[in-house]
């Protein structure tokens, strides 16, 4: 059970292919239950959220994309660094038409390319700006902002904007902006979650990522173990598979008797082979699960969905998160 009612900003990272976007979207859905409002933010220009919710590409504009159980609302925003810079400049200078002129000249793209940290500060800065609306009780405030963030390998650098920027600008508005961002990201109102699979590489990356986040003083939230298969064999059955004592002829006979119209011998050896593969896999998963448990963080387990993930599955995953105690 976790109580995240005070956690305004959730950053969801993980190894590529582990299901970051799916977990971020389900978390946004889960946290929006019962009349709350959440904002799901995309920062990498992939339009992964639009694909997942099966909506047209998201603009740089907050849009409601789904309703959560109990009158909750999930909103979405695709942040674009170039647009965010124009936005940001407009808040300091009265740009008028100069903003779009600068963009046409390629100046905005130039600026965000020039300073690698600038891009990240603008992206995280947008999230923090939204989070601070809540503090000021603005009418367009959200209870939670969830970022579908860059992968584990880049997450500490992405979030550690003050270090990035201090190498760049020691004073001035960007420096102050970065400090505002760190004030939100480095505080208990933020949690960085990592999504992993029960496989060696993703788990190793998760462990390394947590170490990196901690050494950068960034607040680590939970680990989401994604795509976990339901154990189909119980402990006694698995033990027999390991020992190689499954009764082959009995298996063939029973399966054929139950209507499998194939030679009993083939059926038996096919089923036994699949059971061996399965147990080898679940044993490996169990070892990886132990490594995750050693991290002593809240761990949430999400099921493997053999039919893939669409909107309906997001509701189901959000429900699973709720059942596992996310509030």
């Amino acid at each position: 059970m976790v109580n995240w009612s005070g956690t305004a900003l959730h950053v969801v990272s993980g190894k590529g292919g582990a299901g970051k976007t799916t977990v971020a979207a389900s978390l946004a859905m889960c946290l929006a239950r019962d009349g709350r409002r959440t904002l799901l933010m995309e920062v990498e220009g992939r339009q992964g959220i639009a694909q997942l919710f099966d909506t047209p590409p998201l603009p740089y504009e907050e849009r409601r994309i789904a309703i959560a159980p109990g009158d909750g609302e999930v909103w979405a925003l695709a942040v674009d660094a170039d647009e965010a810079l124009v936005d940001y400049l407009a808040s300091f200078y009265n740009l008028g038409r100069a903003g779009s002129a600068m963009r046409k000249m390629g100046a905005i793209d130039f600026a965000t390319t020039l300073a690698p940290g600038l891009r990240d500060v603008l992206l995280t800065g947008k999230a923090c700006e939204v989070v601070r609306r809540k503090i000021k009780r603005a009418s367009n405030a959200y209870d939670h902002v969830i970022i579908d963030a860059p992968p584990t390998g880049r997450i500490a650098q992405f979030l550690n904007v003050s270090t990035q920027v201090s190498a760049l600008a020691k004073t001035g508005p960007i420096h102050r902006h970065a400090e505002m961002v760190m004030g939100v990201i480095g505080s208990p109102q933020t949690a960085v979650h990592l999504v992993t699979l029960l496989e060696e590489m993703p788990v190793q990356e998760t462990i390394d990522g947590i170490r990196e986040l901690r050494s950068a003083n960034l607040p680590v939230g939970a680990v989401f173990v994604n795509m976990v298969r339901t154990p189909l064999l119980d402990e006694r059955q698995s033990a027999r598979v390991r020992k190689g004592t499954l009764p082959k002829s009995k298996i063939g006979e029973l399966a054929v008797g139950a209507g499998i119209r194939q030679p009993a011998k083939d059926v038996a050896s096919g089923l036994v082979q699949e059971a061996i593969d399965h147990v080898r896999r679940t044993d490996l998963e169990a070892r990886e699960q132990e490594r995750i448990d050693e991290l002593q963080l809240p761990v949430f387990t999400l099921p493997y969905l053999s039919q893939g993930v669409a909107l309906g599955e997001l509701y189901a995953l959000a429900e699973t998160m709720f059942d596992e105690g996310i509030r």
Partner: protein
């Protein structure tokens, strides 16, 4: 015909690794699909088929790197121990050190004093370690270097390259040009003009817009940043001709008929969508595509029994004695795998209906990760087996 994707032609990997005309194999695809392992497995198989191979990996898993003897970063290819050289081949491997590659480029082309000035420039330091795209650019740069070395002294007749874990596979092709055009761009030229000598060109280029832009930029970033950029570009510009030309030269190498692209994907919709984009791009740019490697596909040991048949039989057994319940579980397990396989085949078929000519080979999902040469050899067998 591929057994997993009935309408797709089969990718015959062995004919590619044994084709003496193929000198470069580029493994590409979105993150998390097993590119590095695929590249290493192809390289090992080629070496054991008699080629002199160098494999350039980007970010291998630690245990695999240790097994290949490349856990130490020194940015130079080293012989891999334990390779079967009876066919007359060899395997060298290296892991890309992005910053070091960039430093090498600078040191090779600048006199020591100027090189020192560039290496110490704060803008260079941030560019060489964190510019989005530097890794891709340096992977290409390193490929260009290895290729030049191979041409000059015949160290290798095949280079296998892994590509960085980019947001999209296309980044590998686009990033070098982006970095090149960024460094050759109009704004950076103007910024560096004062450092190159008294106002040369600045009068002509400076417009109201530019003046406004630089003043805003120095306000938000601090004027030191612009100075650093200016002196960096000036220093690098006089030591070796435009970055763009270098990037262009390596890009041209990728279009050469001696290059072969292997697109790697997992049977998931995102990875296959990326693979689709990449295949289209290669086609548009006239780059030679060998085919698609579909990693981690679900296979079943009982292909003739459908999910529905298995579930129906399992239902009849679920209430019986222990043996019956065991068989019910086994049938459910089979039904589960058959469902996964069916979904994956549908996704792959969708790819094939859009790209009917692209040959495919599949590698089944293995229970455990690959940690050693035997594991790579096994992947190589599976890659070649379809």
């Amino acid at each position: 015909m591929s057994s997993f994707v009935p309408n797709a032609p089969v990718l015959d990997l062995d004919s590619i690794v044994q084709d003496a005309e193929v000198h470069i194999i580029v493994c590409t695809g979105s993150g998390g699909v097993g590119k590095t392992t695929t590249a290493a497995a192809i390289a090992l198989r080629a070496a054991e088929h008699g080629r002199s191979v160098c494999v350039l990996t980007i970010d291998p898993a630690r245990r695999l790197a240790q097994a290949m003897g490349i856990a130490e970063l020194d940015n130079t290819p080293r012989p891999v121990a334990g390779v079967d050289t009876s066919a007359g081949g060899s395997l060298d491997a290296m892991m890309l050190d992005m910053k070091r590659t960039f430093d090498d480029v600078v040191e090779r082309h600048a006199d020591p004093e100027r090189a020192k000035a560039i290496l110490e420039n704060p803008f260079y330091q941030s560019l060489s370690s964190s510019f989005a795209g530097t890794q891709e650019y340096m992977a290409m740069e390193k490929l260009g270097q290895l290729h030049a070395q191979a041409q000059a002294d015949g160290s290798w007749d095949l280079i296998v390259v892994d590509t960085p874990p980019s947001r999209t596979a296309l980044d590998f092709l686009d990033a070098p040009a982006r970095l090149g055009s960024f460094l050759d761009g109009r704004f950076i030229r103007v910024l560096s003009a004062p450092a190159r000598g008294a106002g040369k060109g600045i009068g002509r280029l400076a417009s109201v817009g530019f003046g406004f832009f630089t003043s805003v930029l120095s306000k938000i970033l601090g004027s030191q940043v612009l100075n650093d950029v200016g002196s960096f570009v000036a220093a690098i510009d006089t030591t070796f001709g435009g970055f763009r030309e270098r990037a262009d030269a390596t890009y041209a190498l990728l279009k050469d008929s001696g290059t072969s692209f292997v697109v790697v994907a997992a049977p998931e919709s995102d990875a296959l969508r990326e693979a689709s984009y990449f295949v289209e791009r290669l086609h548009a740019d006239g780059m030679p595509l060998a085919g698609l490697v579909l990693n981690r596909v679900q296979e079943v040991s009982l292909p003739k029994v459908s999910r529905e048949q298995a579930l129906a039989a399992a239902e009849g057994l679920a209430e019986g004695d222990a043996s019956s319940r065991l068989v019910a579980s086994l049938l459910q397990l089979h039904a589960d795998r058959a469902a996964t396989m069916h979904r994956q085949q549908q996704l792959a078929a969708r790819f094939t209906s859009a790209h009917a000519q692209v040959p495919i080979t599949t590698v089944p999902a293995l229970a455990e990760d690959v940690h050693d040469l035997d594991g790579l050899r096994q992947i190589g067998e599976l890659l070649a087996a379809d």
